[in-house]
């Protein structure tokens, strides 16, 4: 389990999945002026470990309900080929870290950080999620 720790003060944020450009943006330094929490779908709309794509502000986002309320959002676009397919990858784990494998060439990414285990040159964009009133919200940069 990649338990969220630093975000305890945000009661609504259930799972921290790291923010885009994690090197400059720490998890708790989200600026409400440059990002927006966009509702995607109900938690109940997702089947555990079965990824689905969502169309949010003209962006294609892949959503994964891993278990309970552990939810990850990443770019639906495969970093290697640019094809919009990531939601259709197999979810799993590497050690303690949650993963998704690209359905095209099977690169394996950390769902929380976007780091690629099989090819360090690739990065999958990740987005923070939270659950508000049974709805999954994804934090998108403006």
């Amino acid at each position: 389990m990649n338990a969220p720790t630093a975000l305890a003060e945000h009661e609504a944020i259930v799972t921290d999945v790291g923010a885009p450009g994690a090197s400059t943006t720490g998890p708790s330094s989200t600026d409400s002026m440059t990002s927006v929490w966009e509702p995607a779908c109900a938690v109940a709309d997702l089947e555990p470990s079965w990824g689905e794509a969502a169309l949010l502000r003209a962006r294609q986002i892949a959503l994964f309900l891993v278990s309970g309320e552990e939810i990850y959002a990443v770019s639906h676009q495969d970093p290697h080929t640019d094809a919009p397919v990531m939601a259709r990858g197999i979810v799993g784990s590497r050690g303690e870290r949650p993963t998704v494998a690209s359905p095209l060439h099977k690169e394996v990414y950390d769902l929380a950080t976007g780091e690629c285990f099989t090819n360090p040159a690739l990065v999958l964009q990740t987005f923070r999620t939270r659950v508000v009133g049974g709805m999954i919200e994804v934090e998108l940069p403006l």
Binding site: I90, S93, G95
Partner: protein, 861 residues
């Protein structure tokens, strides 16, 4: 070193068999300084081929050409085919060929091999021999011709109950001939086997329907007015009706050219050589069957290869020596396991013989030991030769356990821990020692060879007769585990079990969900390796809709959408077209669907039609049209039966002898939807012309006059393999029974993503083991395997029809969870040769894209 650094030394090899090939190849690969130019003079019209494997040619037109053939392309190697050397001039250093060509040499190598002798008896001019490709091709044609002309199987009598004779008789029997063997010894293979072993072998051979005439020999061959053989009379006074008489009673060295120029010959013929492989003339050498070493010529490939290596070394200035002849032999006949090595007949003084014999099971195993029962001197195996590969290299060394413990027939596990000494010979054919194999594994010679195929190619071990492959594999595994490379057959970090173990565990426990299975047998959350394996295992065992009950999340890319994902994330759709047979009306449906959805169409290699470019959310609509028109899923996306390819067969073809299309349709409908460790394909050909290319399939079925021949383990792909003959002349019912058993056994025991060809290579005992399991039911599994298949067949439902029938299932095909009716806006198409294809990145950038979305009209270019 060459005495002349500029002009290369001319080496002429007379003869174009395996010994000549080996020498030319050894010189080619070792002669870095280009000091030698080689000319091979061969009277046969074929590239040098593998004579050891001649019997394979009886099973079909197998290409026996010896690898590598690249040696013949080198400009330092000239190969003269169809040129017979007629005379030699030792003084002038020339060879003159039948066409009058004179070739100068600095060194001359005799590799003329031997001829098959035919005794001088009445009618001997009508007898044939079994020696060359042309001999075998003639035999095959004649056996087929006689079967038609006589309306019954041709009767073939083979004189000689040694290796060659038994292989010939076995191969001819498999081809449908009525084969018999006459042998002058009191038991078969009397030169290599003792009486107990020879009799055990005799029982096995007889049980294959081959008649044996032992302790006698042909005295006369009788014929009718037309000159056709009719009868053979034996020295015992008895006789047999015979159509074809073949002699395979030994070899006589082709030493006539050597004799003509006065070279010293061996006491029983052959060019006499010393340990340097040199004849009595300092510039003339001899290798292979024509070479007489220690007073005798040997008709085995291992010494021939060793001699070739010695001469290559000597010609390049080395001092290698040929010391002993390894007589080890293993008979390669389907369903027969025979091997002998070392002092098999216990001629050593005070030698002990440890024997296990079980006539009821047709088993005979013997080890010959020194008088203190410690050192291994030799052995014989009949009926079960599994200990042979690991014991033969231990010849001459002390065994660490009681000898009886090594006899597998006694039901014991062979003791582990006999680390082979580095110099122990693993591959006798190619003279590869255990140490050499280990060096290749450990990367001493460059990149480490960590898989069996690679290791065989690099070390050459196991590439000739193949009998040492299990041992090579064992060495590979023990070296890899020593160096810490995981040979563990574990699937991945989540499961320490191999696929086979997991399959059995799931079967025994009856678990049906991934969470239970990983909770019980693994750790973590799984991954893209183990999840599809579990998905496949559950599908093989339980049938049921593959995306229900949480199993959807286990499926690999294509299974998940029940379509094949293409590079841009859209899918291709392949309806099943059983046997490649389709009505014009159904073709019209495919055309209409493809037109409506703007799909690119292409004929597949498997006699089907593939429609490309469907978005995920379009798949249900497309399948609704197809299912309504009577199509069902072709499972082109599954590790499952793909298709059964067929030729048109006897229905239309003037050559066909069976209904190939009918059989193909029946098989495709029987095995459709069956999930396996990897995809698999069948082929059915209506006659021996094999237009369906069935031997490139996992199961290939080729019609004969009497039924069907079943071939197994064929494979296209990046490591192609020809399927091998499993059983001949089956009726429909038996054929299907054997396919049921074969496929289920494969599904249960293969590794992840291992196709049947690799599986048969890796499985202990190879083809013979599989034959035993499938035909002889040696594991007692036949009923269970057939029942498992019957369960699958009963439980089959079309996955797409099942999807369309359930709205919950259809939800999986929505484009976006929050906008299920919005098509993926990023799909972009360009027209090419009249059809739409995915736009390339540069075309997207330059806005040359002409089509996106389902029914958007195409903007002309």
């Amino acid at each position: 070193m060459s005495e002349n650094a500029i002009a290369p030394r001319e080496v002429v090899i007379v003869g174009g068999g395996p010994a000549a090939h080996r020498l030319a190849d050894a010189l080619h690969s070792r002669d870095d300084e280009r000091a030698v130019h080689v000319t091979v003079v061969s009277e046969e019209p074929h590239l040098p081929y593998d004579r050891v494997a001649l019997s394979k040619r009886l099973d079909g037109t197998t290409d026996l050409t010896l690898e590598p053939t690249s040696v013949w392309d080198d400009d330092h190697v000239s190969l003269l085919l169809g040129e017979r050397a007629e005379s030699i001039d030792l003084e002038a250093g020339t060879v003159t060929t039948a066409s009058g060509r004179a070739i100068g040499w600095d060194d001359l190598v005799f590799a003329t091999g031997s001829s098959a002798p035919v005794p001088e008896i009445p009618g001997s001019e009508l007898a044939k021999v079994y020696r060359t490709i042309d001999d075998v091709d003639w035999l095959v044609a004649e056996v087929d011709r006689l079967a038609v002309a006589l309306g019954r199987p041709a009767r073939v009598l083979v004189a000689g109950g040694g290796l060659l004779g038994l292989e010939a008789a076995g191969g001819l029997a498999r081809r449908g001939a009525d084969a018999a063997v006459v042998h002058s010894g009191s038991w078969l293979m009397s030169a290599q086997l003792d009486e107990g072993a020879g009799r055990a072998l005799g029982r096995i051979i007889s049980s294959q329907g081959i008649a044996l005439h032992l302790g006698t020999r042909p005295r006369a061959i009788e014929s009718d007015e037309s000159g056709a053989v009719t009868r053979v009379v034996f020295s015992s006074g008895q006789s047999a009706d015979v159509d074809i008489m073949i002699f395979a009673i030994g070899i006589s060295p082709r030493d006539e050219l050597a004799a003509a120029v006065g070279l010293e010959l061996g006491p029983r013929g052959g060019v006499a050589i010393g340990t340097d492989c040199r004849s009595s003339h300092p510039r003339v050498w001899a290798i292979g069957e024509v070479a007489s070493f220690d007073g005798r010529c040997t008709g085995l490939v291992a010494p021939a290869n060793a001699m070739a290596e010695v001469v290559a070394d000597r010609l390049l200035g080395g001092a290698a020596e040929f010391t002993t002849v390894d007589d080890a032999t293993k008979l390669k006949l389907s369903g027969v396991d025979v091997a002998s090595f070392g002092d098999a007949l216990a001629r050593t003084e005070h030698a002990l013989e440890i024997v296990y014999a079980d006539p009821a099971r047709g088993l005979y195993q013997k080890l010959v030991m020194t008088d203190d029962a410690k050192t291994l001197l030799g052995g014989i195996f009949v009926g079960d030769a599994s200990p042979y590969a690991s014991l033969r290299p231990l010849l001459g060394s002390e065994l660490s356990n009681e000898p009886a413990a090594y006899l597998s027939a006694a039901g014991m596990e062979p003791p582990a821990g006999d680390e082979l000494p580095a110099e122990a010979l693993v591959c006798a054919c190619n003279n590869v020692a255990a140490g050499t194999v280990r060096d290749w594994v450990n990367g001493v010679h460059g990149d480490a060879c960590t898989d069996l195929g690679e290791l065989k190619a690099c070390s050459r071990a196991g590439t000739q007769c193949g009998s040492c492959v299990p041992l090579v594999k064992k060495i590979l595994e023990s070296e890899l585990s020593k160096s810490g490379i995981a040979v563990s057959r574990a699937l991945c970090e989540h499961f320490a079990l191999s696929r086979q173990e997991l399959f059995e565990s799931v079967r025994v426990t009856g678990l049906t969900s991934f969470d239970e299975i990983i909770g019980r047998f693994g750790t973590g959350r799984g991954c893209d390796v183990c999840k599809p394996v579990v998905g496949s295992i559950l599908a093989s065992q339980n049938d049921g809709y593959i995306l229900d009950g949480g199993r959807g999340t286990l499926q690999d890319t294509n299974d998940r959408a029940m379509a094949n994902m293409q590079k841009d994330g859209t899918y291709s759709v392949v309806p099943r077209i059983p046997g490649g047979e389709i009505t014009p009306e159904k073709l019209g449906v495919i055309a209409a669907v493809a037109t409506e959805y703007g799909l690119y169409t292409k004929i597949t290699g498997g006699q089907r039609i593939d429609m490309f470019g469907a978005r995920l959310d379009q798949l249900p609509e497309i399948w609704r049209r197809l299912v309504d028109a009577g199509f069902e899923s072709g499972q082109a996306y599954g590790k499952a039966l793909r298709n059964v390819k067929s030729c048109v067969g006897s229905t239309w073809c003037r050559y066909g002898v069976q209904d190939a299309v009918g059989m193909a349709v029946e098989l495709e409908l029987r095995y459709r939807g069956l999930r396996a460790p990897h995809k698999f394909k069948f082929g059915v050909s209506g006659c021996a012309r094999e237009c369906a290319e069935a031997r490139g399939k996992d199961v290939g079925i080729i019609a004969t006059e009497k039924g069907w021949n079943m071939y197994v383990g064929g494979n296209g792909g990046f490591q192609p393999a020809h399927a091998q003959l499993l059983v001949s002349d089956l009726d429909d019912e038996t054929l299907i029974k054997y396919i049921d058993r074969y496929m289920m056994y494969y599904i249960r025991t293969a590794d992840r993503l291992q196709r049947t060809a690799r599986w048969m290579e890796e499985i202990e005992g190879g083809l013979e083991h599989v034959y035993d399991v499938v035909v002889n039911d040696s594991l007692g599994l036949a009923d269970e395997l057939e029942a498992a298949m019957a369960k699958h067949i009963d439980g089959y439902e079309d996955e797409w029809a099942a999807t369309l029938a359930d709205p919950e299932r259809l939800r999986r095909f929505r484009s976006f969870v929050n906008a299920p009716n919005t098509p993926d806006p990023s799909v972009a198409r360009v027209m090419e040769r009249g059809q739409a294809r995915p736009a390339r990145a540069d075309e997207v950038a330059s806005e040359r894209v002409v089509l996106s979305g389902p029914r958007i009209p195409i903007r002309g270019e």
